[in-house]
Amino acid sequence: MSTEALRVPNIRDADPRTAVIDVDVHEQFQSVKELLPYLDDHWKRYIDQYGWAGMPKESPYGVPSTGGNTRLDWRPQGDQMRASTVDLLRQQLLEGEGVSLAILNGLFHVSSLSGWYEFAGALAGAYNDWQIEHWLDKEPRLRGSVHVVAHVPESAAREIDRVAAHPSIVQVFLPTVTDRQYGDPFYRPIFEAAARNDLVVALHHGSETRTVLGYPRYFVEWHSAIPHANQAQLTSLIFNGVFDSLPELKVVVLETGVTWVPHYMWRLDQQYRGLRLEVPWVKRLPSEHFRSNIRVATQPFDEISRVHFEQLIDMMGSDELIMISTDYPHFDADSPTKNLPAGLADDLVQKIRYFNALATYPRL
């Protein structure tokens, strides 16, 4: 693994008036066979001889958008997979949308495999090495994530320590699973490993993410309910003391929008005031933990007015919680420069597009 990343220009030297840090970008491979060079011979056989073709898709849906699950003008010609090369990403996102720096989250949720953790772990390591060689070492405007098998926490922590040696790695990626609770002390080694390596932990849903109704009858129902699953995991983290034990840790909630935050803060605070004695290891109001440890990303951005957005910031009690995200290359990707309401103060826009990410990711 190369440790010589191309880290010019330094994003902290960018012009805040134009800089955009996109915190949710999904690179992917053309085929899972791209991982073969990074797998041991034993595991290679499952792909090149035994027919393992990739992560199973658990949800039943197709996406009835103009380009399926891909923004139509980002669909490559022929059989090329969307977002599958650095050149495509440069042209469509960095140049096409004016993104200064993009944080990669992949689309390869090894933690969603409900068994066969040895293979999942091998896949995680292979994906991490592939991401570094094919993306991070090729484009200095990209930063990456460590993908881990969460359900084997000690092994996941070792993988975090290994991959964090690369200077372009800025976070640990955890899919928003709905059958396990990340606040359970069982998972603490993952968060401890992230914290000791100055990495953010990102939560992002996938096809494995159920709603409280399981998989509803229609995609629009499932996609509308994504915030619930992320809120449930955040609640688990807060009330199981993750942020009390790791006060420097940042958790970023992706593809969940931002308008739910005031309700969520108020709800947890109200519950905590009356039921604190059940969780005495939580030493601060949940809203205080949120403001110090949790960050959210804009996409999919609810279409609200400037006035409502300013009220939202006021209700959050901080203008440092929101960061820009596009969700490139998916069907509902937002423009990173046109998604916010017109007329917001320049300093607020610059925080959302740039400064808040700098403050969130210690390794940027």
Binding site: G241, R273, G274, P280
Partner: protein
């Protein structure tokens, strides 16, 4: 600040509390299990319930998930409505110190509980 004589000290055993009226102000006077006398305004700042309709409990602390410690030297009055906890010595809401009830100085003189307000 005026000192008010309330009732005989022997009328309040450890773990007991009672509501008194001082100049038209409702106050809950209590004795912790450890024997300390305390007094709080008898109105929860949340929605106005009488704390004297709630419970006097040992405060709970803990630093590790799943481990609880009952504190012998700290007690809380818990509101009967939503369970908010108020430190009997300071009146501060344990979960949210921005919420508080007024705490009054109390003492014993010649076997009588006194309160200053």
């Amino acid at each position: 600040m005026t000192k008010h004589a309330l009732f005989s000290e022997s009328e309040l055993a450890p773990g007991e509390f009672r509501r008194v009226d001082v100049d038209g102000i409702g106050i809950v006077v209590l004795r912790t299990q450890a024997g300390a006398l305390c007094a709080l305004r008898d109105v929860c700042p949340h929605q106005g319930a009488r704390l004297s309709n709630g419970r006097l409990e040992a405060a709970v602390d803990g630093d590790d998930v799943g481990h609880y410690e009952l504190l012998a030297d700290r007690a809380v009055m818990r509101c009967p409505w939503h369970g908010y906890e108020f430190d009997v010595f300071t009146g501060l809401c344990v979960a949210d110190p921005t919420e508080r009830v007024r705490a009054y100085p109390v003492g014993v003189e010649d076997g009588v509980v006194t309160l200053e307000r």
